[in-house]
Symmetry: C2
């Protein structure tokens, strides 16, 4: 059921156009996957996501394992049915989340012991258990359980963690029941060229149907991220999809696409929306600010989304100030619409051989008068 | 533009079927008005409300005066345009809210001085100012500024407050600019028959296009409320709409309809939804309870709403436990759908001369094995 069709490669950049076929439908790449951490993309219904053009969402293994539990979701008929989303779902492995717990977790070769952020109870996830949880969830694309090093980290730390990630990838592969779900490998190796190449080589030898690049967007300056992509992506097979994990700011999306990335996910668009910040053709806009109290124009006059068609900045600001749920619904709808439109524009530009100028033009407006952020 | 057509009166009860024509459309009565306190029915879009059959909503003068301010809403083109709701709106006068502030307010013949619940700032609302605010909001139906006594209260307190309410009603009438907006009078008088009759008589003499019954659902036992309706409604003109303020539990709605009430509003259905309680054909259900963790059935198998068509109790409970906005969206949709369906059923039963049996049958299932609540 799973396949990747590479439709076109850009002549000037590494950008590519593709189609990812999964048991729950086809995805046009490059694609951005909205994040539905707890079996819901915060504030949204599945129908709203579809209307905005979302073709796949990501959900988090760590969160769903803890609450409501992967066994319960299995009894519900799987995650698609549980949350009423009939398009593809990618699940992460929980690796990144448990490593982010810091002092609350302990890593051994066997797996990771950690304390729940909900009730402090102790849990253990091994590579085998991460596979089992994701099979219970029934996602279309599962990820191997990896060890994600922090940034910065020593060469030795990065080397040990990538080698463990390879060993764990093998264990994940061995227990994965080859049903309709596929499993992607995750390239680690920090910001060290030889280690990234080693990781990519070892994983490619294992023969996954797709490859993620992990351990980026963890605090490193953006130029470092781009450099890592520059030397890592060429080590991955052309005919397989490439997924850059945890990345979703407009500049990183376009820079990632230019370097041959096909898939992205990030909480950024939905998280900043809930804090009252929206993305517009002219850059970021903090609609919570008092300067918008009397502004009866839409968030982005060029945007055709439900929010911009029907509501003013003044009204949205009022809702946010009054802690009304509709406020964060409207900003979330707009930000997802904005990112979906950006990705659609990128795909169309790749198809028309104009991706370089598309990217340049977008940046000149989005970042006009605004310093390129160094961190996402 | 405003008119009320009395279509039919029930043979066995006081129930009646009507049509209220307003500048923003026609309302079929008896009608329940969802409450949009801060220019939004909490968690809902206008389109969702329309899909559920809401023909009119209520918004709160006190809240909108404080935030974002009635002048700002006027500059936005009025409340309909500000909040993107093009059907009728009824605004209360702010009277009930400021009196509910307790020690934070001081009443004189001139008006009420009170402190904002938002920032503690001092404000003054007179009957004239309450009219002006509602004209700025541009609601279809405005309410006179009344004094709402608590329950219980002395005969003297109730008498003084109803007489002040009449004097204030005159002042409201005098300054009301007879544009497209109409103004309803509010009957007070506590739980004293002669005072309710005096209040109704005095207001009817002033000749309002509609009459509310205020000061109920403020803590009195339900039989007292029904008794007040029994002797008050007959004092109101048949050809004018009658509105029972702040009432919205299923039993009170049907008992109110049986006594000739045409309009209702209440935060109850939406508020209990946000606390994880839903109304079903078989009675109230606390979906947050652990007993529903593994229950993959809909909230109400007989309900055709979006929530019941697509989601299980287990999923909704998960969302509520995880503080996900979609959870309270889904319970709110269901509860509004439930009340709208109840009102539709009541209208159809009045039309078919079966209202008595409709009411009896509804109660026998809704309250089966459940004690009739004595308070809303």
């Amino acid at each position: 059921m799973f396949s990747f069709e590479l439709m076109k490669e850009c002549a000037q950049t590494g950008a590519r156009l593709g189609r990812l076929n999964t048991p729950h439908g086809t995805i046009n790449t490059p694609v951005f996957m909205p994040v539905g951490t707890q079996a819901t993309v915060k504030t949204m219904t599945p129908e709203e996501l579809k209307d905005l053009g979302a073709e796949i969402i990501l959900s988090n293994t760590y969160h769903l394992y803890l609450r409501p539990g992967d066994e319960l979701i299995k009894r519900a008929g799987g995650l698609h049915r549980f949350m009423n989303w009939n398009r593809p779902i990618l699940t992460d492995s929980g690796g990144y989340q448990v490593f982010s717990l810091g002092p609350l977790r302990k890593i051994t070769e066997e797996g990771v012991t950690f304390k729940s952020h909900i009730d402090g109870s102790t849990h253990f996830i091994s590579p085998e258990r991460a596979v089992e949880i994701q099979m219970n969830l029934g996602s279309d694309i599962a990820m191997v359980f990896d060890e994600c090093p922090p940034y910065p980290c020593t060469y030795e730390y990065a080397k040990n963690s990538l080698e463990r990630t390879t060993r764990w990838a093998k264990r994940c592969q061995q227990v994965h029941n080859l049903g309709e779900q596929v499993q992607f490998g995750i390239v680690q190796g920090g910001a060290f060229e030889d280690l990234r190449k080693q990781s990519a080589r070892e994983l490619v030898e294992l023969g996954f149907p797709g490859y993620s690049i992990g351990g980026l967007s963890v605090g490193e300056p953006k130029p470092i991220m781009y450099e890592v992509l520059d030397y890592t992506v060429p080590c991955l097979p052309k005919e397989k999809p490439r997924y850059l994990m945890g990345v979703g700011s407009p500049d990183c999306l376009l820079e990632g696409i230019a370097r041959g990335i096909d898939m992205f996910d990030c909480v950024l668009p939905t998280r900043i929306a809930r804090n009252g910040t929206v993305m517009t053709a002219g850059g970021k806009l903090v609609v919570r600010n008092a300067s918008h109290a009397d502004d009866f124009e839409p968030l982005d006059p060029e945007c055709k989304c439900y929010t911009c068609t029907n509501y003013s900045k003044a009204y949205i600001r009022h809702l946010l100030k009054a802690n009304e749920v509709l406020g964060i619904r409207l900003t979330t709808i707009h930000n997802i619409a904005f990112i979906m439109e950006l990705m659609k524009g990128a795909r169309e530009a790749i198809a028309a051989d104009t991706f370089s100028s598309f990217k340049k033009e977008f940046f000149s407006r989005y970042y006009e008068g605004e310093q390129l952020e160094q961190n996402i």
